[in-house]
């Protein structure tokens, strides 16, 4: 067992006991990155100099015997959609290829207060638009469980590097499933907190009524530690909610007795692969044996979630991405004829095809004569989807579903058909509309060896119930201990 294999909470004990140093840990993770990155390609930028400096600072604190925070000295990767002061932040887009933020996102400020070690910035679908990370302008990230398959998206880099032990944990962002789906496909834990739990200040905006930052980790305990670090209201984000943040480690309770689990029949309908359904049913049965009660529920508007999402998210994106005009930051076209020509050429050269598609879709849905038929209609259906969940949570504590209808698909398999790619998000977008917290935990493997994710959803601000359900499942199963076999790439020293 090398240091890079371990969880943050296990490493914290070793750091606290001064069995290891943060510098040695950081070196161990970078050695792992060097070995696996040529094959996984999860990082866009590595920040080793900064990391070692942060590691030395953490070590100084531990040496003095200070009471150090749980994430002090822990190497963590950051999705390249989160602004990092002085470190290039590209959103995997050509249009931001040279953007160096003059400020840190609030989550970064909070992580730095803990004394984390920042390893680097991870690959993603351009502006977080996609479900496979193939929409990156820079590189394709490979799923560590099968390098011929995608890692999911849009936070595919953040999921893949944790899965490959090329980071202890990471941050991603989830708009329609961009944390939960890649977590499932890469066999790691990923959580989208309730909309409003985590400040979006410094998160480059995609769809502002849906976007939320959240953690990837190797187990549920680390997930709770990361939530403790990043949650809380922020004057810099008026949609962050002023609610007390509990100590989420208190929810790590290995007990399912009395837990009411709802299983929505609509999530087990057509399009769900049989092997995925089997693993998820088996996982729910584990919790039932441990004392949870399981009942079938109905969320009747589930089938409308994707259509609703592909109006609301592109509409908000079309407004948010209007800021990329070649004036204040980012790419500018060469030798424009005039100002209008500069806008058009800059944007047409700087954005990739999926981003243009969504800007077009969103601009259309908001244009004169169509706004009521599309955007307004979608907002009304959003109310219906939310009402389904409100009714369900009158009866149950958590909802259990597959996270993705299929395991990881082959690189290139869905890129030709935008609509087919959109339907990858069928299990995750409904909860996004309702702002619900959701977690994906590993729950087994299909015959080909690819991991399957189990998704739990809870009412707004009921993350504690999610953590309890997920922790109980994890403590009574071994799936999260499985690691992808990357030994052929490893040069052990």
């Amino acid at each position: 067992m090398s240091l890079y294999n371990l969880t943050a909470h296990a490493l914290h004990e070793k750091l606290k006991a001064r069995e290891i140093t943060a510098v040695a840990l950081t070196e161990s993770v970078y050695a792992r990155i060097e070995a696996v990155e040529p094959h996984v390609k999860g990082y866009l930028t590595l920040t080793k100099d900064i990391a070692l400096e942060q590691a030395r600072a953490a070590d100084a604190g531990f040496q003095k015997g200070n009471d150090m925070p749980p994430l002090a000295g822990i190497p963590i990767a950051i999705k390249d959609v989160i602004c990092t002061k002085g470190v290039r932040t590209t959103c995997a887009s050509k249009i931001l290829s040279n953007f160096v933020p003059p400020y840190d996102a609030t989550v970064m400020t909070k992580l730095h207060q803990q004394g984390v070690v920042m390893l680097g910035k991870t690959n993603m679908d351009e502006f977080a638009m996609g479900s496979s990370t193939e929409n990156s302008a820079y590189q394709i990230t490979h799923n560590p469980w099968n390098l011929g398959t995608i890692p999911g998206g849009s936070s595919g880099g953040s999921a893949a590097v944790v899965s490959a032990d090329a980071a202890i944990c990471s941050l991603g962002s989830d708009t329609g499933g961009s944390i939960r789906q890649p977590a499932a496909l890469c066999g790691v834990v990923g959580m989208k907190p309730t909309y409003g739990r985590v400040s979006r200040y410094g998160l480059v905006a995609f769809a502002s009524s849906l976007d939320q930052i959240g953690p990837f980790s190797k187990d549920v305990t680390d997930c709770a530690l990361l939530l403790n670090a990043i949650c809380g209201s922020d004057a810099m984000d008026s949609t962050s909610v002023d609610m007390p943040v509990p100590d989420f480690t208190q929810s790590l309770i290995n007990d399912a007795k009395g837990l009411k689990i709802g299983v929505p029949k609509e999530y087990f309908a057509q399009g769900l692969e049989a092997e995925v359904a089997d693993r998820v049913h088996a996982a729910i049965a584990v919790l039932e044996q441990l004392g949870a009660t399981v009942e079938e529920i109905s969320l009747p508007h589930t089938e409308y979630a994707i259509a609703t999402y592909y109006i609301i998210a592109p509409a908000e994106a079309s407004a948010n991405l209007a800021r990329y005009d070649g004036v204040r930051y980012g790419y500018r076209t060469e030798n424009p004829a005039d100002l209008l020509n500069m806008y058009k050429k800059t944007r047409s050269e700087g954005f990739g095809p999926e981003v243009k598609r969504r800007i077009m879709l969103g601009t259309f849905a908001l244009s004169a004569g169509y706004q009521d038929a599309y955007y307004r209609k979608a907002q009304k259906v959003r109310t219906l989807i939310k009402s389904d969940f409100d009714a369900a949570f009158q009866k149950v504590d958590v909802i259990a579903t597959p996270t993705s209808p299929t395991p990881a698909f082959k690189i290139g398999e869905r890129t030709a058909d935008a609509l087919q790619m959109y339907l990858s998000d069928v299990m995750t977008t409904p909860a996004s509309h309702a702002g619900l917290p959701g977690i994906s935990v590993p729950c087994g493997f299909v015959e080909s060896g690819l991991p399957v994710g189990l998704q739990f959803l809870a009412a707004p601000f009921a993350e504690e119930k999610l953590l309890r359900a997920a922790y109980t499942f994890e403590q009574n199963t071994e799936h999260h201990r499985q690691k992808p076999d990357l030994s052929s790439f490893l040069v052990e020293n």
Partner: protein, 99 residues
């Protein structure tokens, strides 16, 4: 719900400050038409009496104290600009001084 034509795509592209060649226009027309056709499934639902949801929390008019604070240093902000001159962002000439 309506579908979209190549002229519609050209109009929307102009609104979005994007430009496409004929091949791209054709491509986007076909793709957007297919996606809009799928989105048309929302018309199966009667929503006249349903209020819209813009976001999930009952927050309104969140304000903060009106306190003067310093902003980011000008040179740091301009460091990201493709063109900067005399402390300002530089853009192609907007006003034609010849006339």
């Amino acid at each position: 719900m309506a579908t979209i034509t190549t002229d519609g795509v050209r109009h929307v592209a102009n609104l979005a400050r994007l430009e496409f060649n004929d091949e791209e226009t054709q491509h986007f027309t076909e793709q957007l038409a297919r996606i809009l056709d799928y989105i048309g499934k929302l018309n199966e639902l009667e929503t006249d009496a349903v209020p819209p949801t813009s976001h999930i929390h009952p927050l309104q008019n969140v304000t903060k104290p009106d306190v003067v604070k310093s902003s980011y240093p000008r040179e740091e902000v301009l460091a990201n600009a493709p063109e900067a001159e005399a402390g300002y962002f530089g853009v192609p000439r907007v006003i034609d001084t010849a006339n």
